[in-house]
Symmetry: C2
Subunit: 384 residues, 2 copies
């Protein structure tokens, strides 16, 4: 008797996570090996509540629209599975005749996925990678990153056009990625057609020093003679490991209020007599359809398909990963990676992708990242 | 003997201000009445420095690329002309045989333009409207607004997709428009396909009250049962007329640091036990090519052409304006408006466009704004 498949999503959405869901549904329908195809409503939490959305009857055009809709259509969650949940998870999987459990997310979600694979030996458990942060271990890159990177690059280019049109000021753009600098690094791909933004980039992998920052900005203003754009990761910390944007305000749950790194840098500049403002696209940067990387969308879709192929082949306990064959021309292969090796592991931006001064990327990073953002970014007109 | 034309831009760029410049260059070339076509580098300040970019020889394809490049290609300025400058302006205009002076900007720039028309009687002076704030008097709307409005609507829709995918939280999006709420109002056009964001909207035309805000948010969370999106103008003030986001920090020039209204609202929610974060696209919202309204781009281009037609007809002292004939089907006429009547006048969002509670728009606003944002916004898939 055929068994059912469930896919659940964990963590923050991306612009192409629905493309992976679309790939799962398309492949599961075509495989002939699967009965019903369920998406859990709000991830593993929804699964434990038996809250499923039946995707078995989605039409070809529904799947195509889903593939082109940003964010997570079934909903995601931020729930850390504990031992107390194990019994309930197994109970629900059995009750609904689930033979295939797919979990789509980042390194926290791969931990959830790994735990399920350990406790539910009789079913096939496969991880589907997803993260704009690009920080999953052992895979060349992650679905969702290419699109967020394209957003970061194009937006920085366009912000640069605005900044250079006005009297000299220094504009800070805060980019997501709390612990890893992959996404802020991608702003460097904005530099086309003679436009120079971003003029400076700051990474969570490097210690942030106020004085060096102010002198970097003054030097850049002197060098370029125009307004400048500074790209900063939301997660930069000082020499004591403290967040630069620590507001000191505690919320109703007792947590320090997050965010505001861009504004904090802008405040430092203002206090040093440099005209400045800051922008923070935030969640908008992972939800834009028009700035999706076609390469990323197709790879996310195929990662969904590959996860179903791995599932019906019984390759439990693995995550679909990407292995790069070549950057130019760009070519990858899909491979299966042991879930235990990616659960809770964060892959930082390596040293050879950051320049010696710690305020820009290297050519090696550009070579790595360029194919992932898809089509060339817009070629804007420069009036001479 | 034919005379030369100069066009200068003032104030913040828009996504289509270059389309107006493209329209000026195209019409001036075709008119046969004009010798050289100059763009002042950085507005009236550039003019006083005799810093001109000669656009006379731009090819058809250059003009087309310029039309599709966001921000101000010749550069803009934020300079208030004083009586001390009058002599220099006249001197430069004479020296360069300028017969036609066009100024492209908002209500401050129309003040500059009006002053030039008064002091330089022997040349033809025409204003070309431009402002994302949509606050120029006596014109139905302004070039630049439709595109910034499209950005605000699509971005709010996409942010809403992200917010509804996650456990309940309240996300604030800060929208530009310091004194007028036209742009924050445009976020209401995000509501398509059954998606409900923005759930609340706050305008600079209404007094902001913390307690009402917190109870509005709690009521919306209870009503919708999902995360909610709150759109707020950067310029909201409290009952004493003080900015809600007054940081209390003074910059090197003695000015209070601006911005941060969205983060301030988010902080209020956190202090009241409501999980929250804030986003601030800021300048990015007026620089996106992909979110340009085609209607806006074509109208901006035509406004440029119309300004040259008015110039060669000798209609000095006027600004090109839009008169709406009908909203459905959408139709406008161009007309000339007395510069003295628009200089320094701000047109706020009228009362009939804001609901009684002061936290949403009315249907009358939707009818007004819908045609200005161009094509329908994306139709995203909703998984049932």
């Amino acid at each position: 008797m055929k068994q059912n498949l469930v896919i659940a999503q964990g963590g923050g959405p991306t612009a192409v996570i629905n493309a992976s869901l679309a790939g799962v549904v398309a492949e599961a329908k075509e495989s002939g090996e699967i009965d019903r195809i369920y998406a859990a409503h709000h991830g593993i939490e929804g699964l434990m509540k038996e809250d499923f959305i039946d995707c078995s009857d989605l039409s070809g055009s529904d799947i195509e629209r889903l593939k082109n809709t940003p964010s997570s259509a079934p909903g995601s969650c931020r729930y850390k599975v504990s031992e107390n949940d194990h019994g309930r998870i197994i109970e629900v999987l059995k009750k609904h005749n689930i033979g295939y459990f797919l979990y789509n997310g980042g390194n926290d979600s791969m931990d959830t996925c790994n735990k399920v694979s350990i406790i539910a030996k009789e079913i096939v458990v496969i991880g589907v990678p997803k993260t704009i942060d690009n920080d999953l271990a052992l895979t060349d890159h992650c679905p969702g990153f290419g699109s967020a990177a394209r957003y970061a690059a194009v937006t920085t280019l366009e912000l640069g056009l605005d900044v250079r049109a006005l009297p000299i000021h220094a504009v800070v753009i805060e980019i997501m990625g709390r612990n890893a600098g992959w996404l802020v690094a991608a702003t460097a791909l904005a530099r086309t057609g003679g436009f120079k933004a971003p003029h400076l980039i700051y990474f969570p992998e490097r210690t942030f020093d106020k004085d060096s920052f102010v002198s970097d900005v003054k030097a850049a203003q002197a060098e370029y003679g125009t307004g400048i754009v500074i790209a900063v990761s939301e997660g930069i910390t000082d020499k004591d490991g403290k967040p630069v944007a620590d507001s000191g305000i505690v919320d109703g749950f007792g947590h320090v209020i997050p965010g505001g790194t861009g504004q904090a840098l802008s405040t430092i500049l203002l206090q040093n007599g440099i005209k400045s403002r800051s922008e923070k696209p935030g969640l908008v940067g992972r939800a834009s359809k028009l700035l999706v990387s076609e390469c990323d969308r197709e790879e996310a879709f195929t990662a969904g398909r590959e996860s179903v192929r791995a599932a019906v082949s019984g390759k439990s306990g693995s995550m679909v990963g990407y292995k790069r064959i070549s950057s130019e021309p760009y070519s990858i292969e899909y491979e299966l990676i042991d879930l235990a090796k990616v659960a809770n592991v964060e892959k930082k931006l390596p040293d050879n992708f950051i320049n010696a001064a710690g305020n820009d990327v290297t050519d090696a990073f550009i070579e790595y990242c360029k194919p992932l953002i898809g089509d060339p970014i817009p070629d804007y007109f420069k009036l001479q």
